[in-house]
Amino acid sequence: MSIFKPEKSLWIYHLNTGSCNGCDIEILAALTPKYDAERFGVKLVGSPRHADIIVATGPVTAVAKESVLRVIDQVPEPKAIVVTGVCGITGGVFRGGYSIAGPLDTLVPVDVYVFGCPPKPEGIMVGILKAAEVLELKRKGMYQKDVVRISETGGVL
């Protein structure tokens, strides 16, 4: 029964770890009427303790590192982490800067990567839906890093 399926309700928490604000705007764009992520049950929540999925942007700056780790620790299990934008994946244009303590996947395990600088809102939506698959596997205790395959780029879901 999909009514009682927990993965149909995805509360996302938007975590900015020091990004240039490009990806943050695209995340909000994914919730606007043109893209309407809410039809998949996505809801933006204000507190990390309410969240299922963390959508992180930005290379983790040295100042933000402590807070980022604490916020991620506050999210209840099962949780999934989606990294949006190349500067969250590797550091992107900020790579190797003196103030960069990340990328995020050197600090915590990251489940889904959304490439682009910034990615399209559809890409972020696909990332969130991939994270829903990850959540389902985690709930059933079957999650391994390579179980979920890379999606066909731009293809039908």
Binding site: P33, K34, I89, T90, Y113, G123, M125, V148, T153, L157
Partner: protein, 183 residues
Amino acid sequence: MPFGEIFGKLVDTLVGGPVVKPFPKEPVKVPPKWRGKPLYDAEDCTGCRQCERVCPPAAISIEDNKGEFFHYEIDYGVCIYCWYCIDACPTAALTGDDRTGLYVGTDRTQEKIESGVPYVECPVCGSKILRPARTLVIRQFKKYTPETLVRASVCPKCRREKTPEEIESAVQKFLEDHGIPRD
């Protein structure tokens, strides 16, 4: 207060129906001049390293083992899809993907191109030079075949110092020895 206006807009939206893009049912439509991944074709590369110079986040890494292999790599986890490299490439070895909009993965190391250009022998003196780019071969000989490739692989030093007759005979001998089909 423009409450009447607000209600009018609401009724308009309600009557007009949702404006949502049909995305998950249909593939993503990207706008014209969309900049997706830069794609690399080793056949066309002359190894000038202009792309490496202009790339803002240093997504392109080149390792030039002189005389053996020109190792070329684009990491899409770093690339910002600015297409500067495509503008800079003199031989159009880099082309842009202007159709695909989404790159989503669960493993970031999958998202990269690894390729390269081998070194070939000069048919005259036997020294190693980088394989000539396809565009340059076509510019010189109007076609890209094994024979024209060999003719284009004559190293700059030999071109400067040898007469055309010497080069022609050396090339003929090279073609014979290696069993390369002629045009």
